[in-house]
């Protein structure tokens, strides 16, 4: 726990100091939203139906950029070897990187989600608690899988291509669950989103545990 917290603090400190990751994620997020809104060109009364898909598609692409950046920090000066040379369980390193990614992705969501409401004419305040739960579960599941795969991708030459190739196919269940739960919440509240939330919770549990157990194998030479 001590090591995970140290890594979390270190990542947040670097991000706060440089703001490189968040700045690029925000810009990409806004651009994606604008492009998707223009491409759909939906009438005002039909636009809210697009919100779940647009929200999660934007989150996925911006999230991949953010998580990749988190591991590029460890590549410079071979810092990942520095972490692995410490007397800590590699699972704790994973937990620290995961926690940092969850926080940074949550900040991204805090900017992107209101913009989705604005562009697609959805009143998100009315469903804020339920939507917050979906966002949290979606964020955790995405970060759990992306943190594991970013650790693999960052060590390959074609890392920019490798991460989406590895990640996107496995994210399909999370995407289905998140879009379904978001749509249900926008239509009828948390109760109606039970199935989607269950998929998200199961996904989170499976990949947080898998990431914790497998991280040692993907980072050791």
């Amino acid at each position: 726990m001590r090591a995970a917290l140290a890594i979390l603090r270190k990542d947040l400190r670097i991000e706060w100091r440089t703001r490189e990751g968040l700045a690029s994620v925000f810009v990409l997020g806004v651009l994606l939203l604008v492009v998707l809104a223009i491409a759909h060109d939906a009438p005002v009364d039909e636009a809210p139906a697009l919100a779940p898909g647009v929200l999660w598609a934007t989150f996925l692409f911006t999230g991949m950029l953010g998580v990749q950046r988190g591991f590029l920090l460890e590549r410079e000066n071979d810092c990942l070897a520095g972490l692995l040379s410490a007397p800590v369980d590699p699972g704790a390193v994973y937990a620290g990187k995961l926690a940092a990614n969850v926080v940074l992705l949550a900040v991204t969501q805090a900017v992107v989600v209101p913009l989705v409401g604005l562009f697609l004419h959805v009143d998100l305040w009315a469903v804020a608690p339920g939507l917050g739960l979906v966002l949290l579960l979606g964020n955790l599941g995405f970060a759990a899988l992306a943190t594991l795969f970013a650790a693999i991708a960052v060590r390959t030459r074609a890392r920019e291509v490798m991460l989406p190739l590895l990640l996107l196919p496995l994210l399909v269940p999370l995407l289905i669950g998140a879009v379904s739960a978001t749509r249900a919440i926008l239509a009828g509240g948390v109760g109606a989103a039970r199935d989607g939330l269950s998929v998200l919770a199961a996904f989170d549990l499976a990949f947080v545990v898998a990431g914790w157990l497998l991280f040692a194998y993907v980072v050791r030479d």
Binding site: R2, A3, A6, I7, K10, R13, I14, R17, T18, L73, E76, N77, D78, C79, A81, G82, L83, L84, S85, A86, P87, V88, D89, P90, R220, D221
Partner: protein
Amino acid sequence: MDAPAIRAEGLVRTFAGTPVLSGVDLVVDAGEAVALLGPNGAGKTTLLRVLALLLRPNAGRLALFGVDAAAAPPALRHRIGYVGHESFCYPDLTGRENLAFYADLFGVPDARTRVEELLAWAGLEAAARRPVRVYSRGMGQRLALARALLHDPDLLLLDEPFSGLDAEAVAALQARLAELRAAGHALVLTTHDVERAAPVATRLAILHRGRIAWAHDGGAADPVVIAAAYAAVVVRRG
């Protein structure tokens, strides 16, 4: 009798099918300092990374302090300090923040005092608040050495430790290494600079084509002897 700090038997490591270590045997006891010489590509860095538990050997046996490295618990790393070609320090953190971070990871008691002590030793007090990104090569190397010493490891593995250091820093490092050796710590360092390593080393060895091809026990060897051995091992064998 205590187990040796390092007992390596027949260590083999390949990369993409190419052997880099081809059966290294090495025993290093507490209070010994081994200087590994060898041409580029001899396997010195790979050997140190295997000894630092950062690379797994493909074959052979490695025990550190009597503990089988293949099943080493994370706590064993507390007894190892490693300086590689890279500093392991985050460019966007300051020198002090980097040391504080690693002190936290290694669970160093009274970390603040220890960090300040090592910053002073490394001559980095004035630069401690600057991001590592603006450090010179030598400053980065001094910070890397300070990082490796933070947790007072029993085994110190140093890959080209004198690289980038000015004469004053070299002398400070030699003095520190001699102190550590005298205090019973085990040291393994790789170098191309025999003159700088010799005052520290109790044993010299030449690594060639992934094997220990020559070794000299009993303190600093005559540079002429070393040069002759190097020529015999590296130049004539090719």
